[in-house]
């Protein structure tokens, strides 16, 4: 039970050389400025919204991948921190009557981190499938709190009218500016995780996944390290949650519910766990099916379900893993 089948170590996979860095930088710039250079397109506004939601979920999936792909902790309750971040940002804005980004965003991240510390204290004592069941149950506890504490969260009606933030006079209330905020947050998250997973700390996480007993014998406090990773992943999920609250101007109890947890979970698996590009690709695949396909056919959820089944049976390493294998084979 110490190792979970389906996940392989993949440390130091992406190592861009100088031309790579330039391409990466240009790509990042193009991503951040998307609503401006696509302005003349007929569907620019729609595409911006869809891309924004993909990026919000990509942050969530990236944070979950830190747990699933690197520490080997498959959490099926990650939406708890997403929801906590969304509610905390919305409630802080409402109660403190402020739109300041440097108040509401840290509020979301902080509450999500504290919640992750509390749940993690229990959850990291389990591993594998038991960790999965515990996180699922605890997240459902958060969901039921959000669903029932009507005077704080709005209960089953949800929390409507979340105000969009501003920072030092720059307002993010227009769709374009908000998109830039989300895109920059996504790039920052990806960069932070890229640094972390290549740091000694990141190697320690992978080593714990591969052989926790040995790491304990070497003197590492593996439980504390796993808890720290759990809290870090919770913090980033809280960031995604706060961005989601700004984007939709609405927080629903379902944001903390099992549906969102499962969505994040499959994004990581479909894209490829243990990679940085994977979760983002997974987020794009799932959101495109859920959002775009849904407006053409009524049974998009069935399609999504079938996609899961096909992925398990045909492409076990996810999109990115399969692409790498194909690339390696093409090069001989």
């Amino acid at each position: 039970m110490s190792r979970i089948a389906g996940l392989r170590p993949r440390v130091g996979g992406l190592r861009p050389r100088a031309p790579g860095f330039v391409a990466l930088g240009l790509g990042a710039l193009a991503l951040v400025t998307f609503p401006y250079w696509s302005r003349d397109w007929e569907s620019s506004r729609y595409a911006t919204t869809v891309l924004r939601d993909i990026l919000v979920f990509a942050i969530l999936a990236l944070s979950l991948d830190l747990l699933m792909g690197y520490v080997g902790l498959p959490s099926l309750g990650h939406a708890a921190f997403f929801g906590a971040g969304a509610y905390a940002a919305a409630i802080a804005s409402q109660r403190l009557e402020t739109e300041a980004l440097f108040v509401t965003l840290p509020a979301g991240v902080l509450v999500a981190t504290l919640l992750a510390l509390g749940i993690g204290l229990f959850a990291v004592r389990a591993s594998g499938i038991f960790f999965l069941m515990l996180t699922l149950a605890f997240a459902q506890m958060v969901f039921s709190f959000a669903f029932q504490a009507t005077d704080i969260t709005g209960g089953s009606n949800g929390f409507a009218g979340v105000r969009r933030p501003e920072l030092f006079g720059i307002s993010f209330s227009a769709a374009e500016e908000l998109y830039v905020l989300v895109a920059v947050s996504f790039l920052a998250t990806a960069f932070v995780l890229w640094r972390i997973t290549r740091s000694p700390y990141g190697r320690t996480l992978v080593a714990i996944r591969e052989n926790e007993r040995r790491m304990r014998a070497l003197g590492y406090d593996t439980r504390a390290i796993k808890l720290s990773a759990f809290a870090l992943a919770g913090a980033l999920a809280g960031l995604a949650g706060a961005l989601s609250a700004y984007s939709l101007r609405f927080v629903s109890a379902n944001d903390a519910g099992i549906g969102t947890s499962i969505t994040a979970f499959v994004m990581v698996l479909i894209g490829g766990a243990g990679t940085l590009a994977g979760p983002a690709v997974g987020a794009a695949v799932v959101i495109l099916i859920e959002r775009v396909l849904n407006s053409y056919i009524p049974f998009s959820q069935t399609v999504l379900g079938v996609v899961f089944v096909v992925f398990v049976l045909a492409a076990r390493q996810g999109v990115v893993g399969a692409a790498r294998t194909a690339w390696a084979r093409a090069r001989g």
């Binding site: 979970i4 389906g6 004592r125 149950a137 459902q140 669903f147 504490a149 959820q301 379900g305 089944v309």
Partner: protein, 292 residues
């Protein structure tokens, strides 16, 4: 709270516990035996309830549904296991993904079927059990007493089968060491398919029995899945006794939680789960340690 009211609430709690047992027994069986966390369990439960709705509409008989639904879900299990799960033995994350996929397809089809649909539906209890009787001066629905009797009878007969029958012996052996069982010449592939079918049939049965009490609505699958997970974690994984004890504890705890702290009723059973895990990491009767 007056003693009479407390007694009635206790009856409610036991009746809910009986439902939980039927639901959780299947999940525990599949997990303990096959080491598969079947996240489609809630969807099977939901499908069972909606098939019961259709059967009652066409035949007019609840009792036909009570027999037909487990058979239908069992047949579905017999298809799903060999087709999808057999090749995934030991690959937990893939099992999670594929059972979630199955659950998505089932709930989507339920939503799209016009006479099942996305709205709340009710299934009346059979005529023979429709009324209520006076208990300690209060009216109490007969159907809930039936649920208790049904759950207890099922628990006793499952326990008898589990301990005394050949199939029960094979299942116990499979939980202990499926590989050894296979080496001894038992066709474990067939055994696993049958186990999965029994688990699915139990989920469907729970759907039929619960429908007149809890109703049919979108989201009932997730609720059922989470509740049955809690029951098996509290009671202990992989043993029938675990599902019994877990259900007997969680059912009344949920009911009394709703009476005493209505705002945080759901909170209450999670607190119990956390406490049990802290004091007994393998659940009350389980042999598999959940946390270290």
């Amino acid at each position: 709270m007056s003693p009479e009211l407390a007694f009635l609430q206790a009856l409610n709690g036991i009746s809910f516990g009986a439902l939980l047992f039927i639901l959780a027994a299947g999940l525990s069986l599949i997990f303990g035996m096959m080491d598969v966390v079947n996240l489609a369990h809630g969807a099977f439960y939901m499908l069972g309830a909606y098939i019961a709705l259709s059967v009652v509409r066409t035949t007019g008989s609840f009792w036909v549904a009570l027999v037909a639904v487990p058979l239908a879900l069992g047949a579905l299990g017999l298809v799903v296991e060999p087709l999808l799960l057999r090749r995934l033995r030991g690959r937990h994350l893939d099992q999670v993904l594929i059972t979630v996929g199955v659950a998505l397809v089932i709930t989507d089809l339920i939503r799209l079927k016009p006479d099942w649909g996305a709205e709340v539906r009710t299934l009346p209890p059979p005529d023979a059990l429709a009324g209520s009787i006076a208990i300690l001066g209060n009216d109490y629905p007969v159907y809930r007493l039936f649920v208790i009797a049904f759950g207890v009878t099922l628990a006793l007969s499952l326990a008898a089968l589990h301990r005394r029958s050949r199939a029960g012996a094979l299942i116990r052996a499979g939980v202990d060491d499926a590989q050894m069982l296979s080496a001894l010449g038992v066709d474990t592939d067939r055994l696993f398919a049958v186990t999965y079918a029994i688990g699915a049939a139990l989920a469907g049965l729970a759907g039929v029995v619960a429908a007149p009490v809890l109703g049919l609505q979108p989201g009932m699958d997730v609720e059922a899945l989470v509740l049955s997970l809690i029951v098996v974690v509290v009671g202990g994984l992989g043993t029938l006794g675990g599902a019994q004890v877990g259900a007997a504890l969680v059912g009344p705890a949920d009911t009394f939680g709703k009476v005493f702290v209505p705002q945080f009723a759901l909170f209450f059973i999670f607190a119990i789960m956390a406490l049990v895990l802290l004091l007994r990491p393998s659940g009350l009767l389980g042999r598999i340690r959940v946390i270290r």
